[in-house]
């Protein structure tokens, strides 16, 4: 069943431009960037049981790096920009990670939110990065060695889709890897991991950096999609979106992407109907919180009937939160 869903998603993704108009394609592209934010939050939440409310910091840093790259530093290769964005974001993430991983899960939540908000306040005030106006007129760079034109919306959509699937795949690999196993073990019992000889702090920071890199990638893609970067890219709403996507989507990677795209369409629909759509979104958050993530969690419906004990344990590991 899960495999079917993955195939269906891939097919739907590839076929999307054939039955959606340009505007809607843009929405799906945006949804994919949100999916990446969701994935980055998912990684920390499911594997390490650390809910972060500060991923906007990494998304926004990636976005600002992307914006500055074309308008100030004249870089014309999106891959170079991606690499740079990840580097810059990791640099910012390290002190946050070191501080935050010393705290329990609530402290972690609070501090990550606090740091993201502080970055937003900084961006609002710092004229060099545009201040409250942000960076306008961000143009899309070239695609490096690839002979494609990113300025075309459909091409950009496919590029975004490819990057999203690449990240999905990478995170899936990590989850199955020995490193992923270590992270789950840390989540299960930090004390025992230390007693066994593991440097728990270092692993947490590494996981944090991986997560931040995915969020930064999302920021870059988003910046070039809407050709605009603003302090709002660092706002708590971005982080909250990532969280709610993970809570609704559950432990499956692929449902995260689906839920994210649906959420994008939902937000767009609401914002076009009423000025006060944020309040309605608020009600959605309240509803999800009250109804319980686990009940809504989409992946629950998709649990396969027969599976090996190992897969069962991993699934259990993924859903344990």
């Amino acid at each position: 069943m899960k495999r079917l869903l993955v195939v269906a998603t891939v097919v739907a993704g590839i076929g999307a431009p054939f039955f959606l108009d340009v505007f809607q394609i843009g929405l799906v592209s945006r949804g994919l960037t949100w999916a990446l934010v969701g994935l980055s939050v998912w990684f920390l939440l499911r594997l390490l049981s650390q809910p972060s409310f500060g991923h906007a910091a990494f998304f926004g840093t990636g976005a600002y790096t992307a914006g500055l790259a074309v308008s100030r530093w004249e870089l014309d290769n999106i891959f170079v920009v991606l690499g740079l964005a990840i580097l810059v974001t990791c640099a910012i993430a390290v002190p946050i990670a070191v501080v935050a991983s010393r705290l329990g899960s609530v402290g972690f939540l609070l501090i990550t939110l606090a740091f993201a908000e502080m970055l937003r306040a900084l961006a609002l005030r710092w004229r060099t990065v545009g201040g409250s106006d942000g960076l306008v007129g961000v143009t899309r760079p070239g695609a490096g060695p690839l002979p494609i034109d990113l300025t075309d919306p459909v091409t950009y959509f496919y590029f975004t889709l490819a990057v999203t699937f690449a990240c999905l795949f990478l995170l899936w690999l990590v989850r199955r890897s020995a490193f992923g196993g270590v992270l789950v073990a840390i989540r299960e019992s930090e004390g025992r991991m230390r007693a066994l000889g593991y440097r728990v702090g270092a692993y947490k920071v590494a996981a944090f950096l991986i997560s931040a890199s995915v969020a930064a990638t999302a920021g870059v893609l988003h910046a070039y999609l809407i050709r605009f970067v603003s302090p709002e890219d660092l706002s708590a709403l971005v982080s909250a979106r990532g969280l709610i996507i993970v809570v609704i989507a559950g432990s499956l990677l692929v449902t995260t992407a689906i839920v994210a795209v649906l959420l994008t369409f939902g937000e767009d629909l609401l914002s076009s109907r009423t000025e006060n759509w944020l309040a309605l979104m608020g009600l959605v958050y309240i509803a999800v919180a009250l109804l319980g993530g686990m009940k809504i969690s989409v992946s629950r419906w998709l649990r396969p009937r027969r599976r090996s004990p190992e897969a069962a344990a991993l699934e259990l590991a993924g859903e344990k939160s």
């Binding site: 606090a114 969280l243 944020l278």
Partner: protein, 289 residues
């Protein structure tokens, strides 16, 4: 910085810190006692501040502050009521608490935007404390001193309640060990309600008293919330003494940060957090669970 300017920033920082304590203490108590992470705290502050500014048309200052306090109580009780709908589920699930209170935050903020058109507003200082003093060659607004004094008084009252009343003893016991509290026969429900109401009152009063200085504006629901977080993380959960000291520290960091590095004021704050937590991860006085 000249000596006079240092003194000025010191005074500004301390008075702001005292105001911040009112806000942070409510947050740390709800979290310490009920284990509830309440992100709406900043939004409650903001809406209360806006309510206070509605009385600027020749109304009494005291009335404005009182109205702000009442607003705070009402909103906080509303938050408590909504969370009671699924309390058993929310009680141990911080993530759901965060999503719930974030959603409520969005709703409150939107209400403020609609009612006051998203425009920043202010409240004129009451006549009897307007103007400024000349302290060592620098003008220091009298109102800030007044604000600090009132906040200190309220803080004192709060301390007295916590240390000297039976109610306070129950709160302290509950912060220490929630399960034991139920075991001793104290009913948690009314106690939590009281703490929520009090924290709302404090946030509301802070919004009202702070209005002549900070005004009411969109965005405060986050900016103020962040400061409260920093205080709680630095000062330890449910710990009023820690919150007090941390509030002063944050207030000072905020004042000096803004004075010395106007654009990068946030770095001072982030730096403070990093330094303190690197030195003592459990906060100055206690632990965030």
């Amino acid at each position: 910085m000249s000596f006079a300017q240092i003194v000025l920033q010191l005074a500004i920082g301390l008075s702001f810190g005292l105001l911040l304590f009112l806000l942070a203490s409510g947050f740390t108590l709800t979290f310490g006692l009920a284990g509830f992470v309440n992100l709406t705290h900043g939004a409650v502050f903001m809406v209360s501040a806006y309510v206070a500014t509605s009385f600027s048309g020749g109304g009494s200052f005291v009335l404005a502050v009182a109205a702000a306090g009442v607003t705070g109580i009402v909103l906080s009780i509303l938050v408590y009521a909504v969370s009671r709908l699924r309390w058993s589920k929310l009680a141990s699930d911080e993530l759901s608490q965060v999503l719930l209170t974030f959603g409520l935050l969005l709703v409150f903020a939107e209400v403020a935007r609609v009612l006051w058109e998203g425009v920043p507003r202010s409240l004129p200082e009451p006549g009897f404390v307007s103007g400024s003093w000349d302290v060592l060659g620098v003008s220091f607004p009298t109102y800030r001193a007044f604000m600090g004094a009132v906040a200190l008084l309220i803080a004192g009252a709060l301390w007295w309640v916590q240390e000297r009343t039976r109610f306070g003893a129950m709160v302290r016991a509950g912060v220490d060990d929630r399960d034991m509290l139920e075991a001793t026969g104290v009913s948690a429900g009314p106690l939590f309600l009281a703490v929520f109401a009090i924290s709302g009152l404090l946030a509301g009063l802070a919004g009202g008293i702070g209005a002549p200085v900070m005004g009411a504006s969109m965005g405060q629901e986050f900016s103020v919330l962040v400061l409260a977080f920093v205080v709680v993380v630095l000062g330890g959960t449910g710990n009023l003494k820690g919150a007090f000291i941390a509030s002063l520290a944050v207030g000072l960091a905020d004042a000096f940060g803004k004075a010395l590095l106007p654009t990068f004021a946030e770095f001072t704050m982030m730096g403070l957090v990093v330094v303190v937590l690197a030195w003592r991860p459990q906060g100055i006085f206690g632990g965030v669970r």
